[in-house]
Each structure stands twice: as structure tokens, then as C-alpha cells.
């Protein structure tokens, strides 16, 4: 049995059209992985930066997994939302990235995209807000159905993750 620690933080996000952002995040693994301690999903606070473009959350990620195999390596999924002054929430992007598999400190910049609707929907999105969302975000983990989507590029989410691996070398895994 090998163990993996993911200890880090979601630093913040930049490159989005508006600034008052929050992020919903989660870690998704295969069947052989088991969460020993820590929260594997959460939601950050809403941050409105006064100067500059980057919204900072510094949200901690501290999970401890044990696994019986290499398949289903953990993936991180992120949803960036925008909250306006009226309290309405609007989706600003989905992002997916793999958790690194080599021990050490990693700085990851995860790119995000959001689905595009028809031109009428885009027009109303410009004025009123809103816009299409994925009916169930789990469908896009594997990537099999992605080709049906039409999306546009949004900003980047910065993460700092420290990876500690234990007993992997006992089973002959080089990372």
C-alpha cells in the first residue's frame, strides 16, 4: 500500500474578464484510491482585488490518499465563478489538471474555459449574465465526450502543490 500526500494551496486566479471571483474545487481519483484524511473538495471565499488583476484565495489543500495501484491518479477539477454586486453567481470557467506524480514542490497554472452557446445566448450573456453550464461536470473527466463542446478560453488558476509519496519505491515505481 502506497500513500500520497497533497499539501498546498489554491493561490488565486487571473485573466478573467471581471474580478470578484470564487472557486469550487475537488479532487477526483480512481477506484483503487482511498482518502485517509483531509477534505477532497471545497469552495473558496469571494475575493475582490483592489489593485491588479489577480484574485487571491490562498485556500489550503491537504489530503492524504492511500492506493493499491497506479491507475486513476488524482485529478483536480476547478470551477471559477463570478459573484457580482447583486449577489448573482455566474460561471467563468472549468479547469482540469492532473496532480503531479513526482515528489516536491510544484507551481501549476491551470487553464480554464467556459462553454459557449448560440449567438443569441452570447448576446444576452453580455447584457444580463448567465450562460450555459455543464449539466454534470463529471462527464468531462475522461474526455470522451468533449468533442461536442464549443468553448471559449478564459483565465488561469494558480496552484502551489507539495507532493509527498511514500512506499512507492518499494513497489518499483520511479517518479
Amino acid at each position: 500500500m502506497a500513500e500520497l500526500h497533497i499539501i498546498g494551496q489554491i493561490v488565486g486566479a487571473s485573466g478573467f474578464p471581471q474580478n470578484s471571483l470564487f472557486c469550487k474545487w475537488g479532487v477526483h481519483t480512481g477506484g483503487a484510491w482511498r482518502l485517509l484524511s483531509g477534505l477532497k473538495e471545497g469552495q473558496t471565499q469571494v475575493d475582490i482585488p483592489q489593485t491588479g488583476d489577480m484574485a487571491y484565495w490562498s485556500h489550503p489543500i491537504d489530503v492524504h490518499y492511500a492506493t493499491k495501484g497506479l491507475q486513476g491518479w488524482p485529478k483536480l477539477h476547478l470551477q471559477v465563478w463570478h459573484q457580482d454586486s447583486f449577489g448573482r453567481c455566474q460561471l467563468y470557467g472549468y479547469g482540469y489538471c492532473h496532480v503531479p506524480s513526482s515528489p516536491g514542490h510544484h507551481r501549476i497554472s491551470c487553464a480554464t474555459w467556459r462553454p459557449l452557446g448560440s449567438w443569441q445566448e452570447q448576446l444576452s450573456q453580455m447584457f444580463v449574465g448567465g450562460g450555459p453550464q455543464l449539466r454534470s461536470p463529471d462527464l468531462v473527466y475522461s474526455g470522451a465526450d468533449r468533442y461536442r463542446l464549443h468553448t471559449e478560453a478564459m483565465g488561469n488558476v494558480e496552484l502551489e502543490l507539495g507532493i509527498i509519496m511514500r512506499h512507492f519505491d518499494k513497489y518499483g515505481v520511479e517518479s
Binding site: 472549468y94 489538471c97 478564459m154 520511479e174
Partner: protein, 562 residues
């Protein structure tokens, strides 16, 4: 002769897992007078001379109240010892303002009825006393100011901190439970602001003081001097100011007043030490606890781990297509597939290709960038065979093409590229540049612009080395391309093989995969040698048996005969 004094009166921090009520300190103060100094000097002088002293030692002992020039006391944690001033103050009930004062009153009355208090000059202020909170301001002015100029008073923060009562914060929870409601306090009270804005460590304090008045005139507040301050927080930190000076020079206290006197102070830690059996028992308990926790974790998951069969390398790549930039048109998507060379295999249900979503690019600086964030995961197995056949290990390749499809359903190829799997495991960020085939002439560019449609490669592996290529020199002469943008991949690679287990067990340095897998061929070589030897031996045995029997018999017969 106490000529040398200890001037290091800084605080010392001790940490202990024991309960703080076991703390015991021995304090000793001694007045330094000229007769005492002289008698001490003479005593030493006399003792150093081996022959008997002419001066009798008895006459050299200082006269006067012998008991009033020094005192030694063992004080426990938060042990309340009364000063002469307090004894006189709490004689009548009108001086009592709080329940604590009334408790002191009853204690003093009990003490007076009994044999009296055991301390004379040394007394203590515990955490609950009303004198404790005003001491820090006094400390700032005695004995050394923080700054050399005496004009500047304490700063705003220092004043705030001194007036905050050091009380324990009971409301802090030990676990990290966050209250679900009322996370933000919109209207804080003055008390809350005072407690949150200053550094409030919730320490319990105890001051050991001494009344250093001239003999016979005890009981006045001006002659109280601070000897020792002990602070603890709830988690095992004990701060002692000044530090214990057993075996070192004593501290010096100078009284102010009409007659300046010098006292020396010695502080010693006399807590009972822990028995070695108890220490061992505690360590065993901790060890037990950790072992049990480890077993619990093991039982949750199990001991097994999936390993590839012997002699096979499993290559696992988790990656994502991050972005594409610098392409001519918008609404890009990427179609990719992996190719495995010889000796590589993969699981049957594994998909080897993928298509990303169509993404509209945005302008970032000077370039148009499209974000895909498309994660993929790929697993391949390499079977090592005899070394003579395979000169170089060939790694799998990802071939990809970038295409654009817009709302008018115009479909164009934007670029072709390839990515070779990295040989070393770890994290790799690779940017691949792409090109697209170009047909010279205006007709093709007009077609590309208006209708869509452009020349495509029939064999995508032409990007690297075509699959159908067998020869020595690859010539692409006459093939016209145009450089287009680039695609960025993030790859995390893992390699697993049973050979790696033995390598770490034997503590070999990290070698290249080929050499490690080549160990099999070395073992194979040894096996072949052994096999050859067995074959030769068997042949020899057969030959020996096939020899004509009479030859063997005659030799033995002749031997017997002769």
C-alpha cells in the same frame, strides 16, 4: 567574593510535557554588606592557609540580625506567599474589595493563629492578584528602559498590551471547527477589539518579589522589588526571567532609596526529576499508539499493490493538453493519437486517441491563445527481449493535428506535430511546434479562405518518421510547409517495474531504464551459459555411456588383476 555579577537577565524559555503544577523553584537572596564581604574574604584567606588561623572564625561572622541578611525559599507554582504589607493590609475587613481579598483575609487569619508565615522578605504575586496587571508598566521603567533616552514614554501598543488583562481564552476550541454562522463580527465590542488587536498569548504569570527594606522597616510598598517572573501558556512552555543561575554568578539587585544596598539573587530549579521507569513507560505508550495507528491505516487499504509481471516495464503517463497558440484561425480543436513501436503493448480497452473540445481563442498579449485543459491518461507495457535484437529503446509517440472549424462549417487544418514520450519519469512541460502542408498558388489559398479545406497528410506519422519508411536517408525534398503555432502539454510520467524494486534494495544508483532492463539480458546470458554447460555435461554423460562396455570392463578388470 562576589565581584562578578551575572548581567544576563534575559528570559529563558523551557518546554515540558509535564503539568506546570510540579514546578518548584528555590530562590535565595543575600545582602552584600561590607562586613560580610570582608568576612568572606578573610575566611577564604584563612582556609587557604593550611596551618591554623590566628584569627578565630567565630569572631568573623557578621553580627546583627543574622536571619535578616539572607533568605532561602522553595516556591511552588502559583503558591501565594504574603508580604508584610499584605499581612498588614488584610487585617481588617474594610480593605477587602473582591472575593479573592476575602479569601486572603481568612488565610492570613489562619496563618496568624498558626505558627506564622514561613517567608520573611520573599513573597509572591500569583495570577489572580490585582497587582499583577500593573507590573508590566513598572517593568518598563525598571531597571532598564528599552531606549537610552528616558524622555520617550511607552508606545500606544505597549500601553494597550499592558492594560489587557492576561486572562485565559476559554472560548478557543482545540479542534479546527469553524462556526457555521457568524463568521464575521460586524460590530465588535471594545473588549473584543482590545483582545484581537494586540498579541495576547493567554499566559499565566507569577511574580516572586522581595521586600528589601532595611531591617525592621518591612511592610512598605516602595521597597518591593521584582526577583523573578514565571510565565506559562497552556501547552507546556515555561518562560523564566531571569534564567536559573545555579553554578553561575548571582544576579545583582540594587535598591534605590537613602541607603543604596546591593543584594545578590540565586535561582535554582528543584523540581523532582522523572524516574527512568516512568520515562520508559511513557515512551512505550507513545510507541504503542503509533504502531496501532499505523496498523489501522494498513487495515483500511490493505497491503497489496498492483505490480506488473516480471520483466515488463509499465509506463504510465498522466498528462493534459493545456493550450494552443499562434494559429491562424479561431475555434481550434486537437485530434491526437498514440503510436506504440515494437515490443510495446497496451491494455485492450485502452483508448489511444482523443479529440478535444472546440475552443475559441482569446487575446493574451500579442497572441491568440486557446485553452483546452484536456486531461488524458495512457498506460503502456514494454517487454524486454534479447538485447541483440533491439539496439535502442524506442518510446511511444503522440501524433496530433490541430484543426479549426468555424460556424460556417469551414474546416481547415492548422498544423501537425508530434510528441515523444519522455524517457525520464517526472514532470515535463513540453511545447511542440507545428507546421501545415502548403500548396503553392493562389487557388489553394483562395479555397482555404473562402470555402475551407486544405491539403491533409494521409499518413500522420509522416511528421516524424513515416511508418512505411525503410531505408537510410529520409528525404522530404519537394514537400512545402508553412510554420504555424505551438501546442503546450503537461506530462507527468511514472515508470514501474519489478527490476526497480531490486535496484533500490541493493542500493544502486539511479540508472537509465535501458541499463536496468538490460539486467535481464545479463541474467539471460548467465542462464544461457548455464544451459550450455548443462547440455555439454549431458552430452558427455551420454558419450560415456555410449562407449563400448568391454573397454571399460577390461580396464577395470586389468586393474583388479594387477
Amino acid at each position: 567574593m562576589a565581584d562578578s555579577w551575572n548581567t544576563d537577565t534575559g528570559e529563558a524559555v523551557y518546554r515540558s510535557r509535564d503539568a506546570v503544577k510540579n514546578l518548584k523553584i528555590r530562590v535565595r537572596i543575600e545582602r552584600v554588606t561590607s562586613t560580610a564581604a570582608l568576612s568572606q574574604h578573610l575566611q577564604q584567606h584563612v582556609l587557604s592557609q593550611q596551618d591554623g588561623g590566628a584569627i578565630e572564625l567565630e569572631t568573623l561572622t557578621p553580627q546583627g540580625q543574622k536571619g535578616d541578611n539572607d533568605e532561602e525559599l522553595v516556591v511552588g507554582w502559583q503558591e501565594k506567599l504574603f508580604s508584610q504589607y499584605e499581612m498588614e493590609l488584610f487585617q481588617n475587613e474594610s480593605a477587602c474589595q473582591t472575593p479573592l481579598d476575602r479569601q486572603y483575609l481568612t488565610e492570613i487569619r489562619a496563618l496568624n493563629k498558626a505558627k506564622g508565615r514561613r517567608n520573611h522578605r520573599i513573597f509572591t504575586y500569583t495570577d489572580h492578584d490585582r497587582f499583577t496587571s500593573c507590573l508590566p508598566i513598572q517593568q518598563l521603567q525598571y531597571p532598564t528602559d528599552l531606549l537610552t533616552t528616558t524622555k520617550s514614554g511607552p508606545t500606544f501598543l505597549a500601553e494597550r498590551m499592558a492594560s489587557v488583562r492576561n486572562r485565559r481564552q476559554e472560548r478557543r476550541t482545540l479542534d479546527s471547527s469553524i462556526p457555521k454562522s457568524k463568521i464575521v463580527i460586524w460590530e465588535p465590542t471594545e473588549e473584543f477589539v482590545k483582545n484581537s488587536h494586540v498579541v495576547n498569548n493567554a499566559m499565566q504569570t507569577m511574580h516572586i518579589m522581595a521586600d528589601l527594606a532595611p531591617p525592621g522597616r518591612l511592610g512598605q510598598k516602595e521597597n518591593e522589588y521584582l526577583l523573578l517572573t514565571i510565565k506559562t501558556d497552556g501547552s507546556g512552555t515555561v518562560i523564566v526571567k531571569p534564567d536559573f543561575n545555579k553554578g553561575k554568578e548571582p544576579y545583582r539587585i540594587v535598591t534605590v532609596g537613602e541607603k543604596r544596598e546591593v543584594w545578590c539573587l540565586n535561582v535554582e530549579n528543584v523540581c523532582t526529576a522523572m524516574q527512568p521507569e516512568e520515562k520508559e513507560r511513557e515512551q512505550n505508550m507513545y510507541k504503542d499508539l503509533y504502531v496501532r495507528h499505523k496498523e489501522y491505516l494498513n487495515s483500511l487499504v490493505g497491503q497489496d499493490f498492483e505490480m506488473p509481471p516480471l520483466g515488463i516495464l509499465r509506463y504510465m503517463m498522466n498528462g493534459e493538453i493545456v493550450s494552443a497558440k499562434g494559429f491562424e484561425y479561431d475555434n481550434l480543436y486537437i485530434h491526437f493519437f498514440m503510436e506504440l513501436p515494437n515490443n510495446w503493448s497496451s491494455l485492450p480497452f485502452q483508448s489511444h486517441s482523443g479529440v478535444t473540445q472546440t475552443c475559441r481563442a482569446k487575446t493574451l498579449g500579442k497572441e491568440h491563445v486557446a485553452f483546452f485543459s484536456y486531461p488524458f491518461s495512457f498506460e503502456a507495457f514494454y517487454m524486454s527481449e534479447k538485447e541483440s535484437e533491439e539496439p535502442i529503446l524506442q518510446w511511444p509517440v503522440i501524433y496530433f493535428k490541430v484543426l479549426s472549424l468555424d460556424s460556417w462549417q469551414r474546416y481547415r487544418t492548422e498544423g501537425y506535430g508530434y510528441l515523444l514520450f519522455p524517457a525520464m519519469p517526472g514532470k515535463h512541460t513540453i511545447t511542440c511546434h507545428t507546421w501545415r502542408p502548403l500548396q503553392t498558388g493562389t487557388v489553394s489559398s483562395l479555397r482555404r479562405f473562402f470555402i475551407g479545406g486544405s491539403p491533409e497528410l494521409e499518413d500522420p506519422s509522416y511528421v516524424r518518421i513515416p511508418g512505411t519508411f525503410k531505408g537510410e536517408r529520409l528525404s522530404r525534398f519537394g514537400f512545402c510547409t508553412e510554420t504555424t503555432g505551438s501546442v503546450t502539454f503537461n506530462l507527468h510520467c511514472l515508470q514501474q517495474a519489478r527490476a526497480f524494486v531490486d535496484a533500490t534494495v541493493m542500493k544502486k544508483r539511479r540508472q537509465k531504464v535501458l541499463e536496468q532492463l538490460g539486467g535481464f539480458s545479463q541474467q539471460g546470458a548467465v542462464c544461457t551459459i548455464l544451459e550450455a554447460f548443462q547440455r555439454a555435461r549431458k552430452k558427455m554423460q551420454d558419450a560415456r555411456e555410449g562407449l563400448p562396455r568391454d573397454l571399460v570392463n577390461t580396464t577395470s578388470h586389468s586393474h583388479v588383476e594387477s
